[in-house]
């Protein structure tokens, strides 16, 4: 005997789907005893369609929710003995397979304990993809289907299972049970009422099963935002989230309720952060609104809980088995992160490829389109030979060589393992907190106290050191070691894309290998690496990535152009942090390039999406580096804005040095460096690639002009006169030469090398290879330069260590160091804390002279008496040291003055005294600057915003 089934169909503006749905219902193999149609205020012809199909239709207002509509239908069905046993619920956007009802009923017969049955939901209109096979809810309120996203139905899940809940679309439920449980919860008008119902049913001892043999196709119109009802409004996400929170709080066990409340609140904040990171501000606000809404009506939840408890009939542990495992949300979090990461790498994929695709789309007759079609057909025919990566790697000589070059670079950088300092690299402070302090403080207890801000590279180093567990030394080691492979990889990537802009096949891989190697070697062979100059080292490593990002300005898609803008801006900020003149050069270069572009394509001036991205990229560094340059200018240390990082005196590079990529007196033999400019010059010969090579030359020439102008600007610092930073010019000019050379070679190869050209090409290739191999060999053998493991003494050269051990405890216990002689002048510094460490060099060098302190030191050196000594103590000085060779006339004066005691030194010719008076210095602490705090906040917000804007737009949002 067949059980009687009544169909309940609730519709709202479903005319798009209803004809199909009605066909589906008519095609059912099992009989339907009664059909009740409820229309909730449709504005289309839904009611008419329903009427035509089922006769009578109950029309209600649009504000009637799904639970209310179902209640209405139940009322119509009545409770009499002839009332149907089963109610089959359908949505206006869900159409059943002809055998759906029959399969459901068959299963109900087989499993008499089942009171709620659900079909297998497949996507509509694809009809193939699985949507749901029963649902449950995770501890964070996520609707869990246990399926992969867009999984095809191949019968892989086809078994009848007990589940927590099934979707109301296609749900077959005993009318009695539906009545007993009070229908669906009226507090859940649209979403989530199925889970809540299933959960309540489970508590009440009813069983819900899913029947895979029954198939219903569901368009999920409301969930996807295709249909808007007065109940969902514009904020689908808000409704879904509110339902999820309500369901969890109303159904969870009593003892876990407080924990649940806290977890959901914190989880909401966390999810908001996640949404903000992918620029889904609306969703983030929906999250917050849902939380506020639910938490603001805890009374309603408590009432709901009471009513559920009254009906509870089974052991909660039994119900718990239907909920997903507790680790599931974390697994999803991990998936999300990996999704973003893969999106990021996809984003960075070839701009050249996309330009070609866009061209193909715009002009189907073009070569690009033909080529693309050709390749696509190939791709489908070719069955790629599946080999392990090991095999693929070792059968690819270029990959092997590239790896070898990277390894040799790391071997060349071996002296950076462990502690490293020397040359321009000061020893690191004790912990990452020192760097954070340096970055955040408004006032540094250095020397006589200074408000000059920390150099901008301190922040990235602090972040890196924090990631590395607070190991500052490790951070510097990582930077020094990885700079070479990073530059190599970046240059490879950049040259590959640039090559593809010229021809679709790109430059030959061995040419890329040469170019990447030649470029990555620039910081090393220039001597900057060996001299511990972080400027060229880091700028060199980041420059190719920045240029790669900047190529995105030429992307055909405006959204990608804007992403490129933020990414290029962020990288330019990092480059500028390590090579401050980089921004200036980029600004001038950007101006020149934009001017040329507008000259060639005048129409692009009006398009904000064309000039906006490069302008944005140039505007990002001044904002992100605001806490550095603005206070520096305000505190009379504007020269610091033009100084390269590292210890002074720094080696300079004149024009000749920039040409061959060497710092004065350092690096590999200079004649090896002649190769790159020579090759860049020869690269102008092939006509086919002359224009792109000229672009490189424009870049090189503009940077050279900026370097020339800066070189005429001596920076008069209190301790001496320094030259403006040239790190950027050093690596950028060489980089432009490398790109030009690779492009030129590519052009020559495209033109074909025949006859006398063979000889010329042979000579050129030999020059290039000799330069690269020679440079690499030099770096591996003797690239360590002046770097040393013995870093500690560098922080306080000539000053006994024990004095700074004391000073580490309290910055007030400083050491006044006097160097020089009466005849040539005395130079003084006040060491505090660890001494001079990485990040403090620039502050000390740029701090304007403290005239009072200078006068005091002059008195100490010329006519010291007990009064002078006392004043020195009041400057926060405990020791006075004259490192060897000390000027005797000054030393004997201090000896004779009284008020000091001889302090021991290891070196007899170093003179040291301890002041008898206890040191005090009120000028060393305090001075919190609200301006700096404001700037730091701007920086933080800026970094967050820029990073968020760098993240690629998620595919689903792009489609929308």
């Amino acid at each position: 005997m067949h059980s009687t089934v009544a169909l309940v169909l609730v519709s709202h503006d479903g005319a798009r789907w209803l004809p199909t749905v009605i066909d589906g219902i008519r095609a059912q193999q099992a009989p339907i005893a009664a059909a009740v149609g409820i229309d909730t205020g449709s504005k289309d012809e839904s009611p008419e369609l329903l009427e035509a199909a089922f006769g009578v239709v109950t029309r209600t207002s649009g504000r009637v929710s799904f639970p209310e509509a179902v209640d209405l239908a139940l009322d119509q069905l009545g409770d009499g003995p002839d009332a149907p046993e089963w109610v089959w619920l359908l949505h206006d956007d869900s159409t059943p397979d002809p055998g759906a009802l029959a399969a459901l009923l068959a299963c109900a017969e087989e499993h008499p304990e089942a009171d709620v049955l659900g079909p297998k939901l497949r996507e509509w209109p694809s009809l193939r993809r699985l949507l749901e096979m029963g649902v449950t809810i995770s501890g964070t309120g996520r609707r869990e289907t246990g399926l992969e996203r867009a999984e095809y139905d191949q019968g892989q899940h086809d078994e009848v299972r007990t589940v927590l809940a099934v979707n109301t679309a296609g749900m077959l439920v005993r009318r009695r049970v539906l009545r007993e449980l009070g229908g669906f919860d009226k507090s859940l008008p649209m979403f989530g009422n199925d889970i809540d119902f299933g959960w309540r049913a489970a508590y009440a001892g009813h069983t819900t099963i899913v029947v895979p043999q029954a198939v219903v196709f569901h368009a999920e119109a409301a969930h996807r935002g295709v249909r808007r009802t007065p109940l969902t409004g514009r904020h689908t996400h808000y409704q879904e989230r509110r339902s999820a929170l309500y369901t969890l709080l109303a159904n969870s066990r009593a003892r876990s309720l407080p924990f649940m409340l806290l977890r959901l609140a914190l989880g909401t904040l966390w999810r908001m952060l996640g949404f903000l990171v992918v620029r889904e501000v609306g969703a983030a606000l929906d999250e917050l609104a849902a939380l506020v809404n639910v938490y603001g009506r805890l009374g309603g939840i408590l009432a709901a809980r009471r009513s559920r408890q009254r009906r509870a009939a089974v052991d909660p542990a039994k119900v718990k088995a239907l909920l997903p495992p507790p680790w599931l949300p974390y697994r999803h979090g991990l998936d999300f992160v990996s999704d973003v990461a893969s999106a990021l790498t996809n984003q960075a994929a070839d701009v050249a490829e996309r330009r070609r695709a866009a061209k193909a789309e715009a002009d189907p007759a073009s070569f690009a389109a033909r080529r693309q079609a050709e390749r696509e057909s190939q791709d489908e025919d070719d069955i790629p030979v599946e080999n392990g990566w090991v095999v693929r790697f070792f059968t690819n000589p270029v990959a092997v060589l590239l790896t070898l070059v990277g390894l040799l670079g790391i071997i060349g950088a071996r002296s950076a393992f462990g502690t490293v300092a020397g040359g321009g690299l000061s020893p690191v402070p004790a912990g990452a907190t020192d760097w954070w302090g340096l970055h955040l403080e408004s006032w540094h207890a250095l020397g006589g106290g200074t408000a000059v801000p920390a150099p901008p590279y301190v922040l990235p180093l602090a972040v890196l050191a924090t990631i590395l567990g607070g190991h500052t030394g490790l951070a510097v080691t990582v930077v020094m070691i990885l700079s070479f492979p990073l530059a190599l990889g970046g240059a490879w990537r950049l040259l590959r894309v640039v090559g593809r802009l010229i021809s679709h096949r790109g430059a030959p891989r061995w040419l890329l290998l040469w170019g990447a190697t030649a470029y990555a070697l620039v910081p090393a062979v220039s001597g900057a690496w060996g001299d511990g100059r972080l400027g060229p080292v880091v700028a060199g490593a980041l420059l190719p990535w920045m240029v790669h990002a900047a190529l995105g300005f030429a992307d055909p898609e405006p959204d990608r152009r804007w992403r490129a803008a933020w990414r290029a801006g962020l990288l330019l900020s990092l480059v500028t942090a390590f090579a401050p003149t980089g921004w200036l050069a980029a600004l001038v270069l950007g101006g020149v390039v934009l001017a040329i572009a507008f000259r060639l394509v005048p129409g692009s001036v009006k398009d904000r999406d064309v000039w906006g991205p490069p302008a944005t990229a140039l505007a990002v560094p001044p904002v992100l580096l605001l806490p550095w340059w603005l206070p520096a200018v305000l505190h009379g240390a504007w020269r610091a804005v033009l100084l390269d990082p590292g210890r002074l005196p720094a080696p300079v590079a004149s024009g000749g040095h920039l040409l061959v990529g060497r710092l004065d007196g350092l690096g590999a033999p200079w004649w090896l460096g002649l190769a790159l400019p020579l090759l860049a010059l020869v690269a102008l010969v092939p006509v086919r690639t002359r224009i792109p090579v000229l672009v490189c030359w424009i870049a090189g020439a503009v940077i050279a002009v900026v370097a020339a102008v800066l070189s005429w600007l001596p920076l008069h610092l209190p301790a001496g006169t320094a030259a403006a930073g040239q790190s950027f010019a050093l690596v950028a000019i060489q980089g432009a030469a490398v790109v030009a050379a690779v492009l030129g070679a590519q052009g020559a190869l495209l033109d074909g090398i025949r006859g006398w050209r063979r000889i010329a090409a042979g000579v050129v290739a030999t020059v290039g290879i000799v330069a690269a191999v020679g440079g690499l060999g030099w770096f591996v053998v003797s690239g360590h330069g002046s770097l040393t493991d013995d870093a500690d003494q560098l922080a306080h050269e000539g000053v006994p260590s024990y004095m700074l051990d004391t000073a580490t405890h309290d910055p007030v216990e400083g050491v006044l160091v006097l160097r020089g002689s009466v005849d040539e002048g005395l130079r003084y510094t006040v060491l505090r804390g660890d001494g001079v460490t990485l990040g403090t060099d620039e502050i000390t060098a740029a701090t304007p002279e403290d005239q009072d302190l200078t006068a005091l030191v002059r008195r100490l050196a010329s006519s010291p008496d007990s009064d002078v000594i006392e004043q020195v103590a009041r400057q926060g000085i405990e020791y006075v040291v004259m490192p060897s060779p000390s000027d005797h006339s000054v030393a004997e004066g201090i000896d004779a003055s009284g008020g000091l005691t001889q302090a021991s030194t290891t070196d007899r010719s170093t003179r040291a005294w301890q002041l008898d008076a206890a040191p005090t210095d009120p000028a060393l602490d305090g001075h919190r600057s609200w301006l700096r705090i404001g700037l730091l906040v701007i920086q933080l917000v800026g970094v967050v915003v820029v990073v968020v804007l760098c993240v690629p737009t998620l595919e689903r949002r792009r489609r929308r």
């Binding site: 024009g655 010059l681 000229l694 002048g825 004779a896």
Partner: protein, 475 residues
């Protein structure tokens, strides 16, 4: 498709191709021009790139009035030694602090131009002046029987004493005085005829604050032959005084004299003033350098500097001491009016001259070249003769002598020029002798004769302090 249409299209295609070719040609030209211009622009920019290498301007010292000065008078020869002190600088009065084991701590008043007697007993005396009287603080200590006199000097970091000995007939002692509160350390290097002697007791000698230590070389390193001492203060301030003793001289139980120090080795040394009737003149030369030096002895007379035919030429090997007997040279008729000896050497050396005259010892040490006025406090009642030589240019020197009360007894201005000095007799009653060079620098010393002889060289007075140029450094 109709005919005209076709034609039109062909024409249009030709037009297009012409335009394209024209554009292409222009572009080719433009790229070629750019391919030449851009490298030139880059090269010009690189040529113009001339950054200044790091430079630190050197800051030369400036002068400032001296604010304090300390001079140390060594322990006396015999009990009756007196100390006279004055400040030759200001026209202002002031006080000088007296300390040291040879005097009870206190102060002594200084008035302009007057020599104040400081009562002193056995032991060294430290005189410290501050304020207006600090510049030009001059003090002297002398004993009359036999005559010995010395200038009380400020502590000197590095100086040479040439012609000391550690034998029974000729013995020397070193007196080290630390005038300050903190302890001081000094190294004394001993040069002997056969090289540098290793004397551990004189390496890193610590002198506690406000105290004095003395070493008798005869006890420490008994040996024959002349020696030279090089004292280097390592830490703090130490005043070094060297006493040279001559024992078992004919008709005498022995005589003592202070040996003034020489500031630095020099290629040209002037030893001015020695008793005429000396029975023995011994010149000692020391070469502290690391290459051999040849020294020639010349005679300084009022009219010229002579190089007599038989003047000895001496080879001084590195780090050795050489003794030269000058008796024969000085007994010569040519040397009748000689009042000094000039030693010209091929490298920097140090020198000292010992003269035994009438049973008394006199020691002549090199004097400093004076460009500014200098003064000496000398015992009253002895014959004094100021010897001037070594003028660096044509100029004049005024020798002024005053009594202890400040009265000017005599003032004589003499013309000097290179190779030509002068000898000026000073009244016996003079207690303060000033030398004022004009337009030239001069070397000067005073020969005192009475019950014996003594020679005291003028030293450059410390009038001003050098204030070093101070600037912040890098680290």
């Amino acid at each position: 498709m109709s005919e005209p249409d076709q034609n039109e299209r062909t024409a249009s295609a030709q037009r297009h191709s012409r335009v394209r070719r024209g554009r292409l040609g222009r572009r080719l030209d433009a790229t070629l021009v750019l391919a030449i211009v851009l490298p030139l622009v880059a090269a010009a920019a690189l040529l113009a790139t001339r950054p200044d290498a790091w430079s630190q301007e050197s800051r030369s010292p400036t002068d400032a009035p001296l604010r304090s000065q300390t001079v140390v008078c060594p322990a006396p020869m015999s009990g009756d030694d007196g100390i006279g002190v004055t400040s030759s600088s200001e026209r202002e009065s002031g006080q000088v602090e007296v300390a040291g084991s040879g005097a009870s701590a206190g102060t002594a008043d200084l008035s302009p131009g007057r020599v104040t007697d400081v009562s002193a007993g056995k032991g060294e005396v430290v005189l410290s002046a501050s304020g207006a009287v600090a510049p030009g603080l001059v003090a002297g200590r002398a004993s009359s029987r036999p005559l010995a006199a010395t200038d009380c000097t400020p502590p000197v970091a590095d100086q040479w004493f040439t012609g000391v000995a550690a034998g029974p007939a000729h013995n020397s002692s070193i007196e080290l005085t630390n005038p300050n509160a903190g302890s001081a350390v000094i190294d004394v290097t001993v040069l002997a005829p056969n090289g540098v002697m290793s004397v551990p007791e004189l390496r890193g000698v610590a002198v506690p604050g406000h105290s004095s230590r003395s070493f008798e070389l005869g006890k420490l390193i008994p040996r024959l032959g002349s020696l030279a001492l090089h004292t280097t203060v390592v830490r703090g301030q130490v005043a070094v005084a060297v006493r040279d003793r001559s024992g078992q001289l004919a008709g005498s139980s022995g005589s003592e004299e202070w040996l003034p120090g020489q500031a630095a080795p020099s290629k040209r040394i002037l030893l001015l003033g020695f008793p005429d009737e000396g029975e023995a003149h011994t010149l000692t030369l020391a070469n502290g350098g690391d290459s051999q030096v040849t020294a020639t002895v010349k005679l300084v007379t009022p009219t010229s500097v002579l190089s007599p035919a038989d003047a000895p030429s001496v080879q001084v090997p590195p780090e050795t001491v050489k003794k030269v007997e000058l008796q024969q040279l000085l007994d010569d008729k040519v040397a009748d009016d000689a009042y000094g000896i000039e030693v010209d050497a091929t490298g920097p050396i140090t020198a000292g001259l010992r003269t035994v005259s009438g049973g008394d010892l006199a020691v002549t040490a090199p004097g400093a070249s004076l460009a500014t006025p200098a003064a000496l406090v000398l015992p009253e009642g002895t014959d004094k003769r100021v010897a001037l030589a070594g003028a660096t240019g044509v100029g004049a020197v005024t020798v002024v002598s005053r009594s202890a009360a400040g009265r000017e007894l005599a003032s004589k201005r003499v013309a000097v020029k290179p190779q030509q000095g002068a000898v000026v007799d000073v009244p016996a009653g003079a207690a303060l002798v000033e030398v004022r060079p004009e337009r030239t620098a001069i070397t000067a010393s005073v020969l005192l004769t009475g019950h014996g002889a003594a020679v005291v060289p003028f030293r450059q007075l410390v009038m001003r302090a050098e204030v070093p140029g101070v600037a912040p450094g890098l680290r």
